[in-house]
């Protein structure tokens, strides 16, 4: 297994090429055939012992070739230096300066990314939890239909849905029109949702887009954890002198925290790296780190700085997730 995994990484990361690559490939083939052969000649016990590895193989190979290997190349790139503006194959030279550039030049983008992602996470939680609660406990025979409706937006492309928001939020669009008709622009301005009579190209529009696009990822895990809760536990809590609110606080909420935790990660992580919403609904003042990375990669062709930014993003997300996990006390959650 290890041979196969190492082989896949080394091929993908480009450590070996030419005749050496053929050598590595044949080594991998021998290892795989070895396992198959052992399973074939071995008894039932041997086969049973080897079965987990056999089942893991496709996943491990996939991850090695398309995740670990590119990750390695990126790490290498992030520590490489460009000799000139037009040097498109920078060489590895422990060039930590890329990270300094990533952190100093793109501070506001990082800050906005985490602020927008956090805001979207809180909003999806506030909107999604009651929705999941109603579907799980009051859905009755419509439960699967309601759950299906939550997933319906996925039938349309992410990009199209975001573009549709442009029309909704446009200056001549229905929402701005309604706000003007009701004459409550001042309220929205005061809430910093509107800016100079506009909904488009504001931070609120970006956060709104993120919230809308990632809402199902919050609802589904919360629904799953709520649905597992036996309604008699609520009866038991009320029988033991808790009010309905008390029963929710002490029984339903703690038991649904694994779902809240999973949902928050599923929303926060992709939202922090998202660039679509900021690009279509935002303005130059609302660019997120995803936009900057995309720009460095595809427009500036500055691979070293782009990869360094990616690593900074990745490590900040990892650290914040770990802190969150510690704070939520996941081991307490079964």
């Amino acid at each position: 297994m290890l041979v196969v995994a190492a082989g896949a990484v080394s091929l993908g990361a480009g450590w070996v090429s030419g005749p050496a690559a053929i050598g590595v490939l044949s080594l991998m083939l021998v290892a795989v055939l070895g396992i198959v052969w052992t399973a074939f000649v071995g008894g039932l016990e041997t086969r049973r012992a080897l079965a987990p590895y056999g089942l893991l193989k496709p996943g491990i190979l996939w991850l090695c070739l398309f995740f670990l290997a590119p990750l390695w190349s990126m790490l290498e790139m992030s520590l490489s230096a460009k000799k000139s503006r037009f040097d498109f194959s920078p060489s590895f030279s422990w060039h930590w300066g890329n990270y300094a550039t990533a952190l100093t030049d793109f501070g506001p983008q990082f800050g906005r990314s985490f602020f927008y992602a956090a805001a979207a996470t809180v909003l999806t939680l506030l909107i999604g939890y009651p929705l999941a609660y109603v579907i799980a406990f009051r859905g009755g025979k419509f439960k699967s239909v309601l759950l299906g409706l939550v997933a319906v937006p996925f039938f349309t492309s992410y990009l199209i849905r975001t573009l549709a928001w442009q029309n909704l939020l446009a200056d001549e669009g229905p929402i701005v029109g309604l706000i003007n008709k009701l004459g409550v622009e001042q309220v929205f301005e005061w809430l910093h949702i509107m800016d100079n009579g506009r909904l488009m190209n504001t931070p609120a529009a970006v956060i709104g887009g993120l919230t809308y696009n990632f809402l199902p990822f919050m609802i589904l895990p919360i629904f799953v954890s709520l649905e597992k809760i036996d309604a008699r536990l609520v009866d038991a809590a009320m029988d033991l002198y808790s009010t309905a609110t008390g029963a929710f606080r002490k029984v339903v909420l703690p038991m649904s925290l694994p779902g809240v935790f999973a949902g928050s990660l599923l929303v926060f992580i992709p939202a922090a790296g998202d660039f679509v919403n900021a690009q279509f609904l935002g303005s130059p003042q609302t660019t997120m780190i995803g936009n900057s990375i995309q720009d460095q990669f595809l427009r500036q062709l500055n691979y070293p700085v782009a990869t360094a930014m990616s690593f900074v993003l990745m490590s900040v997300i990892t650290v914040s997730v770990l802190v969150y996990a510690k704070f939520m006390g996941t081991e307490e959650l079964m």
């Binding site: 036996d230 008699r232 536990l233 009866d235 038991a236 809590a237 009320m238 029988d239 033991l240 002198y241 808790s242 009010t243 008390g246 002490k250 029984v251 703690p254 038991m255 307490e332 959650l333 079964m334």
Partner: protein, 381 residues
């Protein structure tokens, strides 16, 4: 408040869901420190009645009284009764200690007092060393005792138990029956116990309410219910019985003479008749004889019976026979080596002691032994 006042009183309670009547009229009281069972087949309304006492259901008509106060519209968390749920409903995310402490904490009892009470109660149910475990780490019997402790720690006026032993296997169930009785004696709290198992109800309770199709058929001590059932349902549901339909031929001097459907005439003392039974001449009645009270003999005067089957049961012999009109009857005979066991095909007579038969009003759906009916009821459950 008198110590002899009932703890729970159901005052003409009725519960209706749409056009379906779950409980027709429950009207009985449960005394202080009593072990009270509500017994009946599934769908008889016993659980609905329990839920009305707990506060999870509100009666359509009538009143539920707790310690003399009308609580019909009081929500569960404001009633001083606690429930042991059928599948225990322990909080899986809390330790045994936190489960038991849930009630006292919700009542805002001080943490020191809570701790004292919880450890006391865990000792009563003999789970002292399991305080830090999670419910999932306990066996079924231990979870059951946690559920008991969690309810009892609040010193409720009455403890409500909804089929508490149904989820346990036979051996454990028998052990828990004894354990429940012990705990009840120790804490002296009124237990209201719902079960479909007549054996459980008979062995554990001080009094039983037998229910069927939403009606309370009879309330009484186990011996009363068994020896003097007031309705044909109770006679058939509790234990097994031979139900012999007939009509009253004559009544004189405290003796009721009944012509059985098969043609024979039997005489029963009027003290052996159900309370409200009509024993005027010509009335339809049923004579109930328990199998263990039926005495099989030959060459004596009695009901003629032809033996069809004999089953050795260890402590006794179960003899199945048919009367002249083909009604099936069952007798339990003690194993006696000095007497020959009747053989299938043999003609015998059935007699009984004067105190054995009991006369009920009306005719049963099927005449004869109810053993098979009881078996089918238990199989359906």
């Amino acid at each position: 408040m008198d110590a002899n006042d009932p703890v729970v009183k159901l005052d003409h309670v009725r519960k209706q869901y749409g056009s379906f009547v779950a409980v027709h009229e429950a009207d009985f009281s449960i005394g202080r420190g009593e072990f009270f069972a509500m017994l009946g087949p599934s769908g008889c309304g016993k659980t609905t009645t329990l839920k009305m006492i707990a506060g999870f259901e509100q009666p359509t008509d009538g009143r539920v009284m707790l310690e003399g106060a009308d609580v019909s519209q009081v929500p569960p968390h404001k009633r001083n009764v606690n429930t042991v749920f059928q599948q225990y409903a322990l909080f899986p995310h809390m330790s045994v200690f936190d489960n038991v402490a849930f009630g006292p904490r919700a009542k805002k009892i001080s943490e020191t007092e809570t701790k004292k009470r919880v450890s006391e109660m865990l000792d009563v149910v003999r789970l002292g060393e399991f305080a830090n475990r999670r419910p999932a780490q306990l066996s079924g019997g231990q979870q059951q005792r946690v559920a008991l402790a969690r309810a009892l720690v609040n010193y409720p006026s009455a403890l409500l138990l909804d089929e508490p032993l149904a989820a346990l296997d036979l051996k454990l169930r028998e052990a828990m029956q004894i354990e429940l009785k012990r705990i009840q004696r120790e804490v002296g709290i009124t237990f209201v116990f719902v079960t479909h198992d007549q054996g459980e109800a008979l062995t554990m309770s001080d009094r039983i309410a037998v229910m069927s199709e939403g009606r309370v058929e009879q309330v009484g001590a186990p011996q009363d219910i068994y020896m003097r059932p007031q309705t044909l349902f109770v006679a058939g549901f509790i234990g097994s019985a031979n139900l012999l339909p007939g009509t009253v031929a004559s009544v004189d001097g405290g003796v009721v003479r009944i012509n059985l459907a098969g043609g024979a005439q039997v005489a029963v003392s009027s003290s052996q008749c159900a309370d409200s039974v009509d024993v005027s001449t010509g009335a339809r009645v049923t004579v109930m004889v328990r199998p263990e009270h039926a005495i099989l003999g030959s060459n004596v005067e009695g009901l003629a019976v032809r033996v069809t089957d004999t089953v050795f049961q260890g402590s006794s012999m179960r003899i199945v026979g048919r009367l002249s009109d083909n009604t099936e009857v069952v007798a339990l005979a003690p194993i006696d080596p000095t007497h020959a066991t009747p053989q299938p095909g043999q003609d015998c007579t059935i007699t009984w002691q004067a105190t054995s038969p009991y006369v009920l009003g009306g005719w049963p759906e099927t005449a004869g032994s109810t053993t098979t009916n009881v078996d089918s009821i238990e199989a359906a459950l």
